[in-house]
Symmetry: C2
Subunit: 284 residues, 2 copies
Amino acid sequence: MTTFVAYQGEPGAYSEIAAGRVGTPIPQRSFTDVFEAVAHGQAALGAVPLENSLGGTIHENYDLLLKYPVRIVAETYVTIEHCLLGLPGATIAAATQALSHPQALAQCDRFFAEHPHLEAVVAYDTAGSAKMVRAAGQPNRLAIASERAATHYELEILARNIASHAVNITRFAIIEKSLGSPENQISDSSVLSLQSSVLRKVTVVFRLRHETGSLYQTLRIFAEAGINLTKIESRPFREQAFEYVFYADFIEPENRELCAQTLAELKETVPFLHVLGSYGRIEN
Amino acid sequence: MTTFVAYQGEPGAYSEIAAGRVGTPIPQRSFTDVFEAVAHGQAALGAVPLENSLGGTIHENYDLLLKYPVRIVAETYVTIEHCLLGLPGATIAAATQALSHPQALAQCDRFFAEHPHLEAVVAYDTAGSAKMVRAAGQPNRLAIASERAATHYELEILARNIASHAVNITRFAIIEKSLGSPENQISDSSVLSLQSSVLRKVTVVFRLRHETGSLYQTLRIFAEAGINLTKIESRPFREQAFEYVFYADFIEPENRELCAQTLAELKETVPFLHVLGSYGRIEN
C-alpha cells in the first residue's frame, strides 16, 4: 500500500526530499494544509520543517503541532544545497538572470557578487523557479534550486553549492495522526517501520510561569533522572502575559519506565505539558 | 550631529521603522553590510532583527554579533502590520495583482482566499513591492507592505492588518561599535541617551559541553543570584561536535556588582562566554 506523505511546496522542493524518505510525497499549498491532510487521513504522514541552521525555529509549525491531533514519529535532516540550474545547453556566461526564492537569492549573495552580469530575480519558491525556467524555455534564464528540482524539471546543473554559508541544514518532523491520550504519544509509529535508531528523542512543549528559577527547577527533573536535553528554547506565550512556552527535546532513556516517570513529574510541576512524540531519526 | 543608523532593506521596510527610532536610517544591502557599516564607523548605530514571533530567531545575526566588534545598546519591538497599498484611486475590486515578499504573501493567505480575483506576485521585499507599484503607475497592481512604505512611496492604504495571524512582532537589537574588552560591554551607550528603562536586559552567548546536567548547573548560577531569564535557546554548534551554543537574555539586576559576579561565575563554568551587551528598551 502506498504511504502518502504531505509536504508544503512544489515538486522538487527541499521539503519533498524529506517527505520522499518515508513514502510518496504529495504537495500542499501551506503548512496548515499539511496538518489538515494528516488529521483527516488524506495522507498517512506529513513532513514539516521544525528548524533551520541559519533561520531558526519555525514557530508556526510548533503552533500547528499543538493545534492538530498529530504526533511526531520521526525526524530527518535535509542539507540545503543550492544548485544553479539551466536548460540543456545553457551556460553561466551566456545567462542574464537567475531566479529563486528571496531567501535563497540572499544566501547566494557571494555568487552574485562574483557574477555581476547575472540579475537576481525573485520567484515564489526554489522549486517553482526551476519550473519557471523549464516553462519559459529561454536558456538565458537560470534557477537556484535543489538537485532534485533539476531531475524533476529536466534541467542541467551548471554549478553546485553556490551558497555563501557552507552549512545549511533543515530539520524536519515526520508526523502522523495522534492516537488520542497524551500517554500514547510515547509509542512507535503505526505507519513507519523505523529501523532501531541509536538516538531516540522525545519532544515536549510546556509552559512556565515567569518566576525566578522556575526553568531551573524544571531542568532539575531531567538532570536528576540523568536525561540529556538536546534542544531547549523559550518563547513568550502571547495569550497570557508573564508565561513562557518552552520547546525541549531530550534523549529518550532506554528505560521507558524512567521516561514515563520523568514526564509525570514534569506534568506536576508545570501549568501545561504536551508531549509531541517519541521518535527515531531517518537517515538520508 | 546626525546619528546614522544602518539597516537592511529598502526605505519603508519594517527594519527602517526600528532604525528610525534612534536616528536617521541608512539602507544597506545585507545584514553583513549593516555590521560592516557599524564596525567601520560609516554608521554610529545599526538596527538588526534578532527574532520574530512567527519565524523564530535569526541565527545569522547572532553569528554576526559574535564575528564583528559590536555590542547591543538597546532593543526595540516592531509590530508587523501588513497593509494593502495602491496608487491614488486604486480599489481592491478593480485590482488584479498584489505584490510582496513571499513570506508576507504567505502570511496573508486568508486575505487571498477571500479575494480570489487577486493574483499574489512575488517581490524582493515588502517595501520594494511598494516601490514597484509606484514606479509601474498601474492602479491594478497593489502592494502588501507597511504603513511607512505607503507614506514613503505616496500610496494609499486600501486595507490594514490583512495578515491571517493577529500577532506578528519582530524584536530588533540596536548595535554600536564595541569598546574593546568584554567587561566594557556592560556599560551604557556612548551614542544613545536612553531614558531610564524599567526593564534592562543582558544578552549572553555561551557554549556548553553536551553532558547531562550541564545546562542545569549553569542555570543554577542565575537561580541562586535571583536573576530571571527572559530567553534561552540552544543551537547545535557546527564547528565542534557535542558542543552546544546557548543564547540567553536575563533581567539586569539593579546591583551591577551582582551582575558582574554572576557573569564571572558563569565564565568559570563554561568553555566560552561572550557578553553581547546590557541595554534598555526603546518604545515606539
